[in-house]
């Protein structure tokens, strides 16, 4: 007889970043089915779903609703950092936990969050290490006017200028804005060695299309682009370069790192609940301390060890160009030489 355990799913199935949410949802649901069918696991996971529709002000109330109306204390969800910051106070009050499985800008290590996807030492830094010797020292920054873009740009600027490189310009667009002509004309005039693209959603799609038209030779790099958004850009996505912990290869289980990370988060929840009966009611800190370092989650930072891959889009898929072994998440960039002993997170099952 399996123990029935409710878990929350707080993902926007529609709205500007639904491609990402839906990839995560797909991975999570596949994992739940897998857990529930596995006779070796003593737990059955019951998803309690709420859909904030991509509207920022719905996250905190819907998170509260999950915690009030169900037994769930662990929630997989949120895509944007803004939504994560919205639910943090709710989680803290309830002693609940968010499993956040999206690449993000780092500089957070909440006691109430598990960070299952890459932070800058796992995406931006390896990407710059790889790009600067190949493309050159002159970097142009474009980003959505939002914390992801601000922080990626700030850090990219610090890293590149520290190494003697040059920032040829920095432009921001409001979320959802698709008027990219000024931005693209500026790049055409300046001709930087490469562009760091931290635009999200429709702004990114418009920018990529316009660059494909106007400046097809300039490398465009991204720290959060995955397969799930390539169909939204069509042929214009050819040549885009992205860093991430996973890219789909023929025959592999997941279509993107979002799907893989959603799946991995649920599988790790199930492993913890199965190994420690009753632990689904514990706080995240208690749960991890009970688990005594058996899993992939670092009990100090709540981040995971992830490989850093650099890949290029080609015909709607990514081809990996460069592959670095798993490295622990270092959200504050204070552990440059930390040993890489932690068991690596398995994104491939």
């Amino acid at each position: 007889m399996k123990r029935r355990i409710e878990i929350g799913i707080l993902l926007s199935r529609s709205g500007g970043y639904s491609a990402i949410s839906n990839a995560k949802y797909k991975g999570a649901m596949a994992a739940i089915a897998q857990v529930n069918q596995n006779p070796a696991l003593a737990v059955e996971l019951i998803p309690v779903e709420r859909d904030p529709l991509g509207q920022i002000d719905l996250y905190a109330p819907l998170c509260t609703e999950i915690l009030r109306d169900s037994e769930a204390r662990h929630i997989l969800g949120c895509v944007t950092s803004w939504s994560r910051k919205e639910v943090l106070p709710v989680l803290e009050r309830a002693g609940a936990a968010l499993w956040y499985a999206v690449p993000y800008e780092g500089f957070e290590a909440s006691a109430h969050v598990v960070y299952m996807h890459a932070c800058p030492n796992q995406h931006l830094l390896p990407l710059l290490d790889w790009a600067m010797p190949r493309f050159g020292q002159r970097m142009h920054l474009v980003a959505s006017n939002y914390i992801w873009g601000w922080e990626i740009n700030r850090l990219a600027r610090e890293v590149v200028t520290t190494r003697g490189g040059e920032i040829t310009g920095e432009r921001h667009l409001s979320l959802g804005e698709t008027g990219v002509d000024g931005m693209v004309e500026e790049i055409a005039a300046i001709r930087p060695d490469f562009v760091m693209n931290s635009l999200i959603g429709p702004s990114q799609y418009a920018f990529v299309a316009a660059m494909h038209e106007r400046m097809p030779g300039v490398p465009i790099l991204s720290c959060n682009l995955t397969e799930c958004e390539l169909p939204l850009m069509g042929a214009a996505s050819d040549g885009l370069i992205a860093a991430g912990p996973y890219f789909h290869t023929p025959g592999a289980a997941f279509e993107s790192s979002h799907e893989a990370a959603g799946h991995a988060a649920i599988m790790e929840m199930a492993r913890l609940f199965d190994a420690h009966p009753g632990s689904e009611r514990l706080s995240l800190a208690e749960l991890l301390s009970l688990d005594a370092n058996e899993g992939p989650i670092d009990p100090q930072t709540h981040h995971t060890s992830l490989p850093a891959l650099i890949a290029q889009a080609e015909g709607g898929a990514f081809r990996v160009l460069h592959s670095l072994p798993a490295r622990p998440g270092d959200p504050y960039l204070t552990r440059p030489d930390r040993s890489q002993t932690r068991q690596k997170l398995r994104l491939v099952t």
Partner: protein
């Protein structure tokens, strides 16, 4: 203040928490370790051998004798841990040079911004202190400069040439204007003394 915060150099930093054993101290320690700093907690006294880059100190129960340095002269950035927001206690924390503050109870966040703000404020204050010391030195040397110029003028220079000559010597010797002025006066006095003895 100009320039950006340098975040990449927090690596390996150490912090001390001057607070009795308490959930607040534990919460700060957790955050410090998550950020990547090492943390040590002391109460009620700081060890003589204290060697840390940041100090969090309790304002509610703190007292002067806890610190092995005069008020306001901590060798590291100080972050005040404030429970009761009573003016007397806040004055006390200011007298010890709080560079940033955290309100109690401390929960899941706040330490990282306190570290960066305290470090920036500490550096600004240090910069001002050094600059004020330098300016006070220059003010005190006004008389020396005037006497040096008068000495050179007495030897036949115009006042403009005298100033230019001082400036050139300062550049050549990589000394301050005031130090060169003092040297000229000393040389002149020696000459006078020697001359008088003959």
């Amino acid at each position: 203040m100009s320039g950006q915060l340098r975040i990449l150099d927090l690596a390996g930093a150490k912090a001390a928490i001057l607070h009795r054993p308490h959930a607040t101290a534990a919460a700060i320690e957790r955050q410090l370790r998550a950020i990547g700093l090492s943390a040590e907690t002391h109460w009620p006294e700081l060890p003589d051998t204290l060697a840390v880059d940041f100090l969090f100190f309790d304002v509610d129960m703190g007292f002067d004798a806890q610190f092995p340095w005069p008020p306001g002269q901590s060798p590291m950035p100080m972050i005040a841990l404030i429970g009761s927001e009573a003016p007397g206690r806040i004055e006390w924390s200011l007298s010890h040079g709080a560079h940033a503050q955290l309100l109690k109870p401390v929960g899941d966040n706040g330490v990282y911004s306190a570290l960066l703000i305290a470090r920036a404020a500490f550096q600004v204050r240090h910069g001002y202190t050094a600059r004020i010391g330098e300016l006070e030195g220059r003010l005190a040397a006004r008389e020396t400069v005037v006497r040096a110029v008068m000495t050179l003028v007495a030897q036949g220079m115009t006042d403009e040439d005298a100033f230019a000559s001082l400036r050139r010597m300062a550049t050549d010797r990589r000394e301050s204007f005031e130090a060169v002025a003092a040297r000229i006066i000393a040389r002149h006095d020696t000459t006078k003394t020697n001359g008088g003895g003959r």
